[in-house]
């Protein structure tokens, strides 16, 4: 039996919000319909984390008003640090407000779209209708996807036409500077046939407190032979209840690679699924995290492989300190028909304190005979033999520990293509493990 949940907004309020933003009638209907579904649908059930007491429904305000940035000079220092002034393609959102957009003329001429999601809903209704929660994530998967669809209040749309190769990375920064704000961001990246794009997003809090919700859905759609590299550093403050869903859909010969630095201080359910639908499609998923304080974290990473000769790689490294509790679920699923597919995964958790917890839970689901698969998982402390070795060269214990931890988290740091973002992640790690 499902229990109907009283949601924070009514259908009328959602329709009013849609109208206020000049959205087409079809999108208002989409929202209203999603909200009705959200009432009845069940919450997701992340394996080994009980979220029944988590508040994913109520928030202080659906949207907060923020001023746009007239120029990059107005950015807070913490944001300036991650944004390269020369960055050709940049979108900055401040709480729920599209605050700055820059896209090179060259890309515009080629038909590349980089715009906030509200503008996309208005000006690119055909593409939005085609891809928005139709291919990668479905509205009715569970209560949180439906709630997200009803309440989307930010995000970005990136569209790369056929055969277009975007040379410079596209940078997106979501700034959180109002404790009342909730982020229902929708990120939609569509790479048409034989296109290529690198997208890097940063979530950054400049306030120390959050009272709202995070319910983010990200869809990456790589059509035949397209290549998408997706980098992210999540660095939101404590106090949110967060659901971060990042999903990939790869068609024939397509590639979706992920490099995620998941450093948000709030309790968070991370759901990362990549569907390798087409033959020869590949995904290389890498994430690192540092859990601190009393936060609860669930990282569920799934690569589903229908494609023949597809290749799914999962690498997850986590450092847990204080009394942080974390679950690392890794699932490689080769579907019937996915002959010659390969699924590999590795989860490693480094515990820095007695009270911290980290469980690595590797799962391989194989519905086809002619495949290869493997997994490795470990949970442990910093190896005393490593510390001894480093110290025997004159390096202090603190510095030796720092080197080992940074080395452990290097796989993602080294894979981030924007220097400022890479540096920021290094600094966040430095601060968190100290």
């Amino acid at each position: 039996m499902t229990v109907e949940t009283k949601l924070a907004l009514s259908v009328e309020e959602v329709r009013a919000f849609s109208q206020q933003h000049g959205e087409p009638q079809a999108f208002a209907d989409f929202r209203a319909n999603a909200l009705e579904q959200a009432t009845a649908l069940n919450f997701p059930k992340p394996d080994r984390t009980n979220i029944t007491k988590w508040n994913f429904i109520d928030f202080p305000a659906h949207t907060v008003e923020s001023a746009a940035y007239a120029s990059l000079d107005e950015l807070p220092e913490a944001v300036k640090a991650v944004v390269d002034a020369e960055q050709a393609n940049l979108y900055i959102q401040r709480n729920n407000t599209p605050a700055y957009t820059r896209i090179s003329e060259e890309l515009q001429a080629k038909g590349v779209i980089i715009t906030d999601i509200q503008t996309a809903v208005r000006d690119h209704a055909d593409l939005v209708e085609k891809y928005f929660m139709t291919t990668a994530v479905k509205v009715d998967e569970h209560k949180l996807t439906a709630y997200h669809a009803a309440l989307v209040n930010g995000g970005v749309f990136v569209y790369v036409p056929r055969n277009v190769v975007v040379e410079e990375p596209i940078q997106v920064v979501f700034v959180h500077d109002n404790a009342e704000a909730s982020l229902f961001n929708h990120v939609l990246v569509v790479a048409e046939e034989s296109s290529a794009v690198t997208y890097v997003e940063t979530y950054i809090s400049t306030v120390e407190e959050a009272k709202g919700l995070v319910n983010v859905v990200t869809e990456v759609i790589a059509k035949d032979n397209a290549q998408v590299t997706f980098g992210a550093v999540d660095n939101l403050t404590v106090g949110f209840t967060a659901y971060m869903n990042r999903r990939g859909h790869a068609e024939r010969d397509a590639k979706i690679d992920w490099a995620l630095g998941l450093m948000t201080d709030s309790d968070t359910i991370y759901e990362n699924t990549t569907n390798l639908v087409g033959d020869n499609s590949t995904s290389d998923f890498k994430m690192v995290t540092v859990g601190t304080g009393s936060q609860k974290l669930n990282f569920t990473t799934l690569i589903r492989q229908w494609g023949k000769n597809s290749d799914g790689q999962i690498l997850k490294h986590g450092v847990m300190k204080d009394s942080a509790q974390s679950i690392f679920n890794g699932i490689g699923h080769i579907m019937h028909g996915g002959t010659k597919a390969n699924a590999e995964q590795e989860s490693r958790v480094l515990m820095l304190s007695e009270g911290a917890r980290g469980d690595a839970n590797p799962i391989l689901l194989i519905d086809e005979d002619d495949v290869t698969a493997g997994h490795a998982a470990s949970v442990g402390r910093v190896d005393p033999a490593q510390l001894y070795y480093l110290m025997s060269r004159g390096i202090s214990q603190a510095e030796a520990e720092r080197l080992v931890i940074h080395g452990f988290l290097a796989p993602v740091v080294n894979n981030l293509p924007i220097e400022g973002v890479k540096k920021q992640l290094t600094e966040v790690i430095e601060r968190k493990v100290r």
């Binding site: 001894y388 025997s392 060269r393 004159g394 390096i395 214990q397």
Partner: protein, 260 residues
């Protein structure tokens, strides 16, 4: 001249006594070799001097130029001038060989007096070239995926870059093919001078064909039982250890066991 002085050293591991009173004095500009059958405490001596956490010193002293080494943390021993080329170097993912070496060199220098990047790179290139190591090894993660021979070369590379006062080499020759052994020996011989003393622990006399020691010591049952010059090593090579056992009345039954 600097002196490393080991006095009546007794060492236990997991409550079992391995070293039962080792006495040894090494000066700079000297190369000492410690030989002996497996499981007699040779590697324990090396690890105890460096301060491996598993080894407990129950009696005796180690002085480096009068400073009590046993009171120092592992990193302080290194900064005081000791270096141990390990038998089983750790692998550390995510830390490049070059970054690690620079940290190690700078750890021994004062803040504000760090080695310049240019100088470091120049010296690293030169030393790697000397040890016939491919350039890309500088950017590989520390010992990760290195072959046995590559790890040993990397230990010598570190010693040459860090320039300790005393180098202790724990079975630097085991498992090396002859080409690698020649290169490793070349590195050690290059270090020999007035500012450097060396203690080589080996199981095989072959190493001493490439590095001529000034002193040879034989260790059995946790003690140094015989000392001499190069001729002692040659006699061991020709006749094995049995004659020493007979001479000193040592029986194998109570041979100590030793880890790594």
């Amino acid at each position: 001249m600097a002196t490393l002085e080991i006095k009546d050293l007794h060492v236990e591991i997991d409550g079992k006594e391995i070293l039962k009173g080792v006495n040894l004095t090494i000066n700079t500009n000297e190369v000492h070799a410690i030989m002996g059958p497996n499981g007699t405490g040779k590697s324990t001596l090396a690890s105890a001097i460096m301060g491996h956490p598993k080894y407990e010193v129950t009696q005796g002293e180690v002085f480096l130029d009068g400073e009590n080494v046993l009171e120092m943390e592992v990193d302080e021993r290194a900064k005081a001038g000791l270096f141990l080329a390990m038998q089983y170097p750790s692998e550390i993912a995510g830390v490049t060989n070059a970054d690690f070496l620079r940290s190690a060199i700078n750890a021994r220098r004062e803040e504000g007096d760090e080695i310049s990047l240019m100088k470091f790179i120049k010296e690293l290139d030169k030393t790697m070239d000397f040890l016939e190591m491919p350039e890309e090894m500088a950017q590989r993660y520390l010992n990760e995926g290195f072959s046995g021979g590559e790890k040993k070369r990397n230990e010598i590379l570190q010693m040459m870059m860090i320039k300790p006062t005393f180098g202790i080499l724990d079975e630097i020759d085991s498992g090396l093919d002859i080409d690698a052994l020649k290169v490793v020996s070349k590195g050690i011989n290059e270090m020999r001078d007035e500012g450097f003393g060396c203690l080589m622990i080996t199981h095989y006399q072959r190493l001493l064909n490439y590095i001529t020691p000034d002193y040879v010591h034989v260790m059995m049952q946790g003690k140094i039982v015989k000392s001499g010059g190069q001729e002692l090593a040659q006699k061991l090579e020709a006749e094995g250890y049995e004659w020493i056992k007979a001479e000193l009345g040592i029986e194998d039954a109570d041979a100590v066991t030793e880890e790594a």
